[in-house]
Subunit: 447 residues, 2 copies
């Protein structure tokens, strides 16, 4: 084994960074054995140098991250600051000064992955980022390396633990969104400002990264269609249950049937209870991968948290250090297919639509006509009479058991159709006099 | 991209080999883009050269595998023959003649992994074998690379599709073992001679490989404790259901609590229905990994079959070819911890024991005394009176509702204890006059 240590600079020492530093110290012998040389923490860049950081030599602490990455003797920079700047500039500077980089920065990778990969390649260095997607779950490496001889057609995953915790809570307890969010916040699963999670921005960044790697093409954050999950209601869960489904916030990356384009999207969707993703509980993540030869694979585990994310960072650190010793680089960017990213309208999926309609004869015929005119085939219709005066609800055949001026609820589940045709259908339904309102629209996936 | 192709020799052209050859041909452009150079099938060694092999140039077919690996211009040898010889000699010869090797051979790797790794290292070549364990499921690479910065404490998996199919069938249909085996055979899930699967030899080889990689130590097939699943009965499933469990054939690799040794074993066990492994259906495989920092991860997918296994082989082929181009090697053998493998008696686990006992006062006290004498703590006891004359069964408090000369059934579930203490307890129970028989013993895992 080489005795001269590889030098590591750590940028950021929060929940993840402090755990990385701790494991580097407590498991130094194991890491050395696996790498073939010792690794030494050569500097830790932080914003608040006065904070006591147990187990870290105060001499290593600096507020000047730029000077640290410019030192010239750093072999690997670990970036766990997050956000686009200053992370982007620091990573680029690190490459320029001969370091390889391990990052957990999904937002940056989703926005500027191509430029960062180019910088790494220009300087003959590695850029690894297993921790950027689904925390500890090995996903980037399996997609990039294990499935390198296969053709991935679909990636379908729960990649945000906060929203999965909230949706799981709504599912199991019948709670509404706000109540479930409050509990997630109280338990530390949601941040004080939960926007990035509940509006799907976090999941969208991960979808962009996964789609790019899975399909060997360029997918940026802006290419990802995004809907949050703040409007999912207890009534939606009741509808889902009636269909033998539950509701998850899914990141879905697909190759089009003709192979000529890809799509990436994040939105809440109903999935059958029999689907492996349906039983992913609490803040866990899971990603389902469908490929031509391997078939259906699933990867499951904790998607966030200091320790799990540190595990992923350190796995990358070992690989990058081994590459340094071998004077080699691992698999870098792969965007050779240059497949275009199609807009959401081209996605082929199914809809579950709840309509409040006038409870009188002919309504179903009108509604069915609108679907037919938009080329959307109906799978099932369920009709429920609802007396607006008493608020009671009961099954009613069209034109039977209703009361003048009453409302009925019509639930339509479609066959697969382009999303544009489906949204056109909904738009037209809203124009019908007999349709009082569109109570909910949700896509149905995983069948 | 380099234009001179890397040359690949394929040893074996059965279900897996023919699929490897097919994908190499149909996806040649993708493979070239991912590797950075084209790959060329330079020879295919088979036993029956007269067999028509669609899509393979007959000029490439040879029966002389030794001459093929000795050619000197082969960059990578893919070995999908299986069995120990001639595969072992061919792989060693391949290294001697400058080739790297991708193998799917679990039996060989479990028996001679150390020697083969040493040969690879001696000649500066790679030995990859993702396909040897759990087919298409990325498992070797995640354990070896993604978790390289973490400490794995436990690997618990369903790694044999045939036995999972049989047990799943018994669970869902109430069928007995023979009936379920017949169905597995008819559907092609079980071979004409199912011994390797149902007696746990196949799973034991995989457990040896997984334990070695997970704990960075040497674990050979002979170190793995093994019990088959041919004696699992419908009654066992009924007992499992009463406990909220099902029965799976598990491969379990564990680091001892004191960290000073490891164990590896294969046997049927009850696991709670709430455990992610409980819902693995049909011939699917799944492996649960517990590590210090990452926590609980699960990997799920098809564990066998031509296409899935070929996917794993080709992923390795891409990695090995990239290493050849970089003039580097990937992570090789890692056995630096040199942890001893403890015998089964040292494993700490729980037992579910069904006893046929005389239905008279004092039996429970006698039985409980035997457990106490062996230091095994009882978790729960369930007692059921059984009138041997009528065959009816019903709950009976000890000493109440029974008939002179009748039998009762006593089900004991223990707390965790060393396996040696548990088997000592069972041995002593057999000696009791009041114990007419030990109907079943099964370990309880995954809690």
């Amino acid at each position: 084994m080489r005795t001269r240590p590889l030098k590591v600079a750590l940028l950021g020492c929060g929940v993840v960074g402090s755990e990385v530093a701790r494991i580097m110290t407590t498991h130094a012998d194991d890491l050395a054995a696996r790498i073939g040389a010792p690794v030494e923490l050569a500097g830790v860049a932080v914003r608040r140098p006065s904070k006591v950081r147990e187990g870290i030599d105060p001499e290593l602490i600096t507020t000047d991250a730029t000077a640290l990455v410019k030192r010239g003797d750093i072999d690997v920079v670990i970036e766990v600051i997050g956000g686009v700047e200053p992370a982007r500039t620091l990573i680029t500077t690190a490459f320029e000064h001969g370091a390889s980089v391990v990052s957990a920065n999904k937002a940056l990778l989703a926005q500027d992955g191509a430029a960062l990969h180019a910088a790494a390649q220009e300087h003959g260095r590695d850029l690894y980022y297993e921790a950027a997607v689904a925390g500890a779950i090995p996903l980037i490496r399996p997609l990039r390396e294990s499935l390198a001889g296969d053709k991935v057609n679909r990636v379908l995953g729960i990649v945000n633990g906060t929203t999965n915790f909230i949706l799981d809570k709504m599912d199991t307890s019948g709670a509404g969104y706000s109540e479930a969010l409050d509990e997630a916040t109280a338990l530390g699963y949601a941040e004080a400002d939960p926007t990035a999670d509940v509006e799907g921005f976090d999941a969208a960044a991960k979808a962009a990264i996964l789609a790019g790697i899975a399909f060997h093409t360029r997918v940026r954050l802006d290419d990802v269609y995004r809907e949050g999950m703040t409007e999912v209601t207890a009534a939606d869960f009741a509808s889902a249950k009636r269909m033998g489904c539950t509701i998850k916030l899914l990141a879905i990356c697909e190759r089009a049937a003709d192979g000529g384009s890809v799509t990436a999207r994040v939105h809440p969707a109903m999935i059958p209870l029999s689907h492996p993703l349906a039983s992913v509980r609490g803040a866990y993540n899971a990603v389902f991968v469908e490929s031509e030869a391997a078939g259906q694979l699933m990867f499951y585990g904790p998607g966030a948290g200091g320790s799990p994310t540190a595990s992923a960072v350190l796995g990358d650190l070992v690989a990058v250090c081994r590459n340094r010793l071998n004077d080699a680089t691992g698999p870098g960017d792969s965007a050779y297919t240059q497949l275009p990213v199609s807009p959401m309208g081209d996605v082929v999926t199914r809809y579950h639509i709840s309509l409040d309609v006038a409870d009188k004869p002919g309504v179903l015929a009108q509604v069915a006509t609108v679907f037919a005119e938009h080329g959307v085939s109906i799978d099932t219709v369920r009709q429920q009479g609802r007396d607006v005066h008493s608020g009671t609800e009961g099954a009613s055949a069209e034109g039977g058991g209703r009361r003048e001026g009453g409302e009925a609820s019509l639930v339509v589940v479609t066959h697969r159709a382009p999303d544009a045709a489906l949204s056109g259908t909904v738009e037209a339904l809203r124009q019908l006099d007999t349709v009082r309102g569109v109570a909910s629209i949700m896509r149905v996936e995983g069948e």
